[in-house]
Symmetry: C2
Subunit: 217 residues, 2 copies
C-alpha cells in the first residue's frame, strides 16, 4: 500500500481521482467515502485513503459494473474491523457474481455433483453454483454438450488461475488489504481472463483455420 | 446437429422455444429469423432450424448480453454461404468482446509486447487487445501490479482453455456449424470460466483463510 500522505481539498481530490466533485459529494453523503478532516467548518481535507477508495469505487462501477447499492454493501464489509476474511470475500464475490440463476434442477444437481467430485470447498449458496448451472443448462439446450463434457479440463485451468489469485492475495497480512486485493483481483481478473481467452482463441483459430483458407502471401 | 424435422405453427414454435409470439414476429420482420414455409397465404410453418435460431438468439441476448443490432450483424455473417471462418469468428468475437477500450497508451504498448512475446497470432484491431489493456491500466492505477506480473501464468491457463475450445469447434466440418459452435462456446464459455474461477477461488480461500478463522465443528 502506498503510504505517503496527501492532504488536499475536494477540488484537488477530484482532479487526482478523475471523479467529478458532485459525485464525490454524493459518495460522502451516501457513506461510500469516509468524511475528510475539517481544518475549519467549511474546509475539509482529504488524504491517500480517500484517493484509493475513489479508485476502488470507480473500478467496481466501471469494470465490475456493480450497482451503487451493492458497492455500498461491499465497502461496509471491507471497512468492518477485523473482518472474517473468508466470509467477507464470499459475500463480496456473491455481489460480483450475482446473476438470474436457473430453474433447471437437473443442471443444478449436475453442478453440485461436479463440485463434490472435484472436492472443492464451496458453500451451498455460492452464486457461482447457480451461474455455472445456468451455463450448463443453456449449453445443453443449444446442443453444445461437448463443452459440458470438457468441464474438468476447464476447471483444471480455472483452478490454476485461482491458485495464482490466492498467491497474490495471500501476500498481504492486513485483513483490509486482503479483501481489497481479492475484490480488485476478482472483478478485474474476470475481465482479464476473458480477454486472455479471446486472444488465445484468435491465435488458435488462426492456426487451425486461418492458414487453410487465406491465400499465402 | 439435430436433424429431425418439425413443422409447426408460430404458437407451437413459441411454446417450444419459450420466446413469445410477438417477439418471434419482431425477429421475422427484422430478418433475424428466416421466414417460415407458407402452406397457405396466412399459415406459415416453422422447422428445426427456426427453433435452433431462436435458441441462439436467446443465448446471445440473455447470456452474451449483445444488443439486437449486434446479433443481427453476427447472424448475417453466420448465414453467408461459405463464410471465411477465421474472419467471421473474429468479427463475431469482436461484437461479444466490444468494450470502451482505454486511452492508456503505455498499457496498450505493454499488451502488444506481451502478445508478441507469447507469439500469439492476433490481429492489430482485436478488441481483446483493448480490453486487456484496459484491465492492465486499471490494475496499475489501483496498485495491483502483482496481477500484471503474473500475466504469463494466467495466459498459460487461458491458452489451455482456448485449446479445448478449438478442439470442440474443430469437430465440425460444416462452416455454419463451426461459427455457431464458436459463438456459443465463446459467449457461454466466458460465463462458464468466470463461474469456475469463482468456485475455485472460494475453495482456495477456504483452504487458505477459512480453517484458521472458523471454529471447528
Amino acid at each position: 500500500m502506498v503510504s505517503y500522505a496527501i492532504h488536499v481539498r475536494v477540488a484537488e481530490l477530484s482532479r487526482r481521482s478523475g471523479v467529478p466533485v458532485p459525485t464525490i459529494k454524493y459518495y460522502l453523503r451516501e457513506g461510500l467515502l469516509p468524511a475528510g478532516e475539517f481544518s475549519s467548518p467549511n474546509q475539509a481535507r482529504y488524504g491517500e485513503r480517500h484517493l484509493r477508495r475513489l479508485q476502488l469505487i470507480r473500478a467496481l462501477l466501471e469494470i465490475g459494473r456493480l450497482p451503487i447499492v451493492a458497492i455500498k454493501d461491499v465497502l461496509s464489509d471491507v471497512d468492518r474491523p477485523n473482518p472474517d476474511i473468508h466470509y467477507t470475500l464470499g459475500k463480496a464475490l456473491m455481489r460480483v457474481a450475482g446473476g438470474p440463476g436457473t430453474t433447471d434442477e437437473a443442471a443444478v444437481a449436475e453442478v453440485d455433483e461436479f463440485i463434490a467430485e472435484r472436492g472443492w470447498l464451496v458453500g451451498p449458496d455460492a452464486p457461482a453454483r447457480q451461474a455455472l448451472a445456468e451455463v450448463v443448462s443453456a449449453l445443453r439446450v443449444l446442443g453444445h454438450e461437448a463443452q459440458v463434457e470438457r468441464l474438468d479440463d476447464y476447471a483444471a485451468a480455472a483452478q490454476r488461475m485461482a491458485e495464482v489469485d490466492l498467491e497474490i492475495t495471500g501476500r498481504h497480512s492486513d485483513p483490509d488489504e486482503i479483501v481489497y486485493s481479492a475484490l480488485i483481483g476478482t472483478v478485474l481478473g474476470d475481465a482479464m481472463i476473458v480477454a486472455l481467452r479471446h486472444l488465445a482463441q484468435e491465435d488458435a483459430s488462426a492456426r487451425t483455420f486461418g492458414l487453410s483458407t487465406a491465400p499465402e502471401c
